[in-house]
């Protein structure tokens, strides 16, 4: 049985954390994540969870405390945004390198300078190769569902990897939407009892965490980390299957929207995918074979599956809500291009940078891009490979 409520994205994710009832939470407030942790802290104060909260003086300390608590043998959560994630950066690699299944909602926000509090993906994109799993969420429902599933994925005994759940700052974190909550018991049963792996607090079997690994073994550990990442997509699909049984909601590695018979398509993450789907529908009703692909599991990136899903198309636009300044293209474009690289026949690709610092992404933007793709298919020619949209000249 589920309960339908009106809630913000932050509220929904905080509620998921309440239902999971983790052992330890060390977090530091930062806009737009603040409301999430404020709500969770209320659950702690009201005795609705047994979580030990640790007050810390920075995100660097928050993630460090999470690493300690997870190594000790606890189920551990935190959450952050933007500069907070940037400050955690050093410890992100320690959490993943020690293979500690910490679960962290990331409420996506632009990076300073200039200082900005609104939603874009620069923060999580900067940490995409930190050895963590990343699940991205279109709306509050997906953020709630991804948070619950993240525990099962991260804590899987074959992987033991930390996981981020990304949701757009303000657009999702602070907007009220219709959300279906699962029953507390169902969530509890779904995530199950936390299973420890080599906990520090087991004094019967003393272990050491964090040894110095030099030239003779470092590369073997890195290879092992990369290999274990290849198991994640299968686990994500298994967990999604189980989740569907209790929720009725289907999840996969990515969302393929009207893609099967499409000739042109957009690839876009998170909330802007929702806006774009409406325009895809509009173009479909005009007889244009348009589609959309929204990555869900972004790290590890399912190159093979995404390549297979896109290779038949004639032209694709990848929209990035982050840029690689002075680099070649936006981060999603680079991954999409790499997933298509292996095929002889592949779509023409263009890259648009949109919505930085919370700049609105309007339906007109999606229409503009789809019209450009129609033109590219017609002429077989790309005029501009990478371009900012929704920006003043």
């Amino acid at each position: 049985m589920s309960k339908v409520v009106a809630a913000t994205g932050n509220e929904a994710v905080a509620n998921a954390l309440r239902q999971v009832n983790p052992d330890v939470c060390a977090a530091y407030p930062i806009t737009p994540q603040t409301e999430l942790m404020q709500r969770f802290a209320s659950f702690v104060s009201d005795g609705q969870v047994k979580t030990e909260t640790i007050l810390v003086e920075s995100e660097h300390s928050a993630m460090s405390a999470c690493v300690g608590a997870a190594a000790a043998g606890g189920r551990v959560v935190t959450a952050t945004s933007s500069q907070g994630l940037a400050l955690m950066w050093e410890i992100l690699f320690i959490a993943s390198g020690l293979r500690l299944p910490i679960v962290m909602p990331v409420v996506n926000r632009a990076l300073s300078a200039p200082i900005n509090i609104h939603g874009d993906h620069s923060d999580a994109m900067g940490a995409r190769d930190a050895g963590w799993i990343q699940l991205w969420s279109e709306n509050a429902q997906e953020a709630y569902d991804n948070t619950i599933q993240a525990f099962r994925i991260a804590e899987h005994m074959d992987t033991r990897l930390p996981a981020m759940i990304c949701l757009d700052g303000f657009i999702i974190s602070h907007s009220i939407e219709r959300i279906e909550y699962l029953e507390d018991d169902e969530v509890k049963k779904f995530v199950g009892e936390y299973r420890q792996l080599n906990p520090l607090l087991n004094i019967e079997h003393p272990v050491s965490y964090g040894p110095l690994i030099l030239t003779d073994y470092y590369m073997e550990y890195r290879k092992a980390h990369n290999e274990v990442m290849t198991k994640v997509p299968g686990i994500v699909l298994d967990v999604a299957k189980d989740f569907e049984k209790i929720s009725g909601r289907k999840y996969s590695l990515f969302d393929a929207y009207r893609l099967e018979d499409a000739e042109i398509a957009l690839v876009i993450l998170n909330s802007a995918a929702g806006t774009s789907k409406d325009i895809v529908d509009e173009f479909r009703s005009k007889g244009v074979k348009a589609g959309l692909l929204k990555p869900r599991l972004y790290r590890p990136f399912p190159y093979k599956e995404i390549g297979e899903a896109l290779k038949h198309l004639k032209a694709v636009c990848v929209l990035d809500r982050a840029d690689a300044f002075g680099g070649s293209y936006g981060p999603v474009f680079i991954d999409i291009a790499a997933s298509l690289y292996r095929y002889k026949e592949k779509p023409l690709l263009i890259n648009k940078i949109y919505g930085l610092g919370g700049r609105d992404y309007f339906p007109e933007h999606a229409a503009l891009v789809l019209n450009e793709l129609i033109e590219i298919v017609k002429t077989g020619e790309i005029k501009t490979f990478k371009e900012y949209i929704g920006v003043r000249e």
Binding site: G97, R99, L197, N198, Y209, Y217, Y221, K223, E227
Partner: protein, 97 residues
């Protein structure tokens, strides 16, 4: 010792065996080697006490030979050694000489 392949490693490089630092042979780090001169030794065991590794061996309460598989050549034992009548019982000699 045969080095392990990546498939044989513990997740996260966690060490599961307590006290296995004894297996970590650090002798190859050494640039200077301590030489024990028994004739100048007063059996104070300062060298055993001060050694930051496990390179000074003691047998039946008496100073025994260095374990050169562990000794990093830090020279602390030679510095601390009081010797006998102004003559050190431990001297540092450059490796390969």
């Amino acid at each position: 010792m045969k080095l392990k392949g990546w498939r044989e490693l513990t997740p996260g490089a966690v060490i599961l065996e307590a006290g296995n630092a004894v297996k970590f042979k650090t002798g190859s780090w050494r640039a200077f080697k301590p030489i024990w001169k028994e004739e100048n030794c007063i059996q104070c065991l300062f060298c055993w006490l001060f050694c930051p590794d496990m390179a000074v061996k003691v047998k039946d309460g008496k100073r025994a030979a260095f374990d050169y598989e562990c000794c990093k050549g830090c020279g602390i034992c030679a510095l601390e050694c009081p010797g006998k009548k102004g003559k050190k019982a431990i001297v540092m000699v450059e490796e390969g000489t």
